[in-house]
């Protein structure tokens, strides 16, 4: 049955691969993160822990570098050699960028990570065999590996009651990463389908965007021209599927990290602004 399926769909599959993935997307979930508003408070990160059943690994494993932070706030300093910094830090919320041409996808030997018709990089936990090649090939280093089973250590009774039943608790040996809260997407899409309508912008959002106290994170569907996120992308003249943006106004703040690698990230950052005139 399945062999037949492969044979029949072989040419379609091949063309699909040549065209760089799906021809038609149902949605293109994307984000816009305004770095001028990011205050580095970690609310998004903790919200992610709460929503996505992330394991707390504890200090010993943290020291080894085995921590899980699907959403992490990176903090950088300017390199100038001053006695004191004269402005604040540079905060960067970093999570899976759901690349349109993701480098993690082609290298997985079992196709556990693949591109969905929503433009997301799916990670199918139960298919993953833990070769960890995807993580090695991720320029953003946002894939996290379950080096242990965390059932007892991370969720001692009754903490396991908090676990979100809408997504798996990953076992040892499985790679995981930010999914743009696919469980929320799934619920919203199911609901929309049952009500025979399209998913509305703002109907749901990711846990990080929902928590963000300064609303720095905007999540939405760039296929929906009316959505807030596509307005922002348009406003900042950031287009997809290019490795270099050609903007009419080059001063517009939108940019994508590691765009030059031609990975087509789905997260647009807005440059940090610092008022040096005060």
């Amino acid at each position: 049955m399945s062999l037949k399926n492969v044979m029949e769909n072989w040419s379609a599959y091949r063309k699909d691969a040549e065209a760089g993935g799906h021809h038609t997307y149902e949605h293109r979930w994307a984000m816009s993160i305004n770095l001028d508003l990011c205050i580095g408070c970690n609310a998004c990160s903790t919200a992610c822990y709460a929503e996505n059943n992330l394991a707390v690994v504890g200090p010993e494993r943290f020291a080894k570098g085995q921590a899980m932070h699907w959403m992490r706030i990176e903090r950088y300093w300017d390199v100038e050699d001053k006695e004191y910094p004269d402005q604040g830090a540079s905060f960067l919320p970093m999570m899976c960028q759901q690349c349109g041409a993701a480098t993690c996808e082609p290298v997985c030997p079992v196709a556990a990570t693949y591109h969905t018709p929503d433009g997301l990089n799916a990670q199918v936990y139960n298919r993953c065999i833990g070769s960890r090649y995807c993580s090695n090939n991720c320029p953003f280093r946002v894939r996290y590996f379950n080096f242990y089973s965390y059932y007892e250590s991370a969720w001692p009774e009754p903490m396991h009651l908090q676990l979100n039943p809408d997504l798996s608790v990953r076992d040892k040996g499985v790679m995981e990463k930010c999914t743009f809260c696919v469980q929320r997407i799934r619920v919203a899409k199911d609901k929309a389908k049952i009500e025979n309508r399209k998913v509305k912008d703002g109907e749901f959002t990711t846990a990080c965007a929902q928590a963000c106290p300064t609303s720095a994170i905007v999540f939405g569907d760039t296929m929906d021209p009316e959505s807030k996120v596509s307005m922002l992308w348009k406003q900042h003249q950031v287009t997809r599927a290019v490795y270099k943006q050609h903007k009419e106004d080059p001063e517009l703040r939108g940019y994508r990290i590691f765009e030059e690698l031609n990975v087509d990230p789905s997260v647009m950052y807005l440059e940090r602004v610092r008022d040096t005139t005060v």
């Binding site: 139960n126 298919r127 799934r186 049952i194």
Partner: protein, 202 residues
Amino acid sequence: MVQWIRTRMFRKYAHGAFHPVSLGVALILAWSMMTSTGFAADVQPPGGVHKGVDVEQPIEFPHNIHVEVNKINCMYCHTYARRSKVAGIPPTSKCMGCHKIIATDKPRIQKLTEYWQKGESPKWKKVHDVPDFVHFTHERHLKKFVFDRDYPVEDVKEVCAFCHGQIKEMTVAKKVKPLNMGWCAGCHEKNGGPGDCWKCHK
């Protein structure tokens, strides 16, 4: 052996005679087509069988009496099926709604009444289980196979039977379909269900 295959299978029937095996295949095909004609052509219910285990339940609930004899709709009790991903077990109060008066002399009902008076719900055992990493929703399946097709809701048990088998003939439910990925995927392929891994894997 090889010789046998050569002579018996190819040479002897090489010129148009009916081969007993192919005849059998044709008959099976015809039979399966006939049995599936109860459904509109747009839906192809999944095949497959599973030899389920007999599950011991706290009360031996007779599905057959409720469905076949009393003609109670599945969704009367499993009321969440069309509203949620799980079909749900009816609250005990729903059982008692009828059984305060009906069949109160039967031992099973007396057992139920006992539970009710103790203020407990019977601890049923789950029969139709899918792995924890699977997202399955009754709601969407019912929408597709019943409501979108204008399928008579009173016959919903035939749709339930796609995956649950002929519950109407069972007392305690028994798993008679494999409910594994190949089986699910096969039906999705036939009926145009989603093929995206993330639709069902969470």
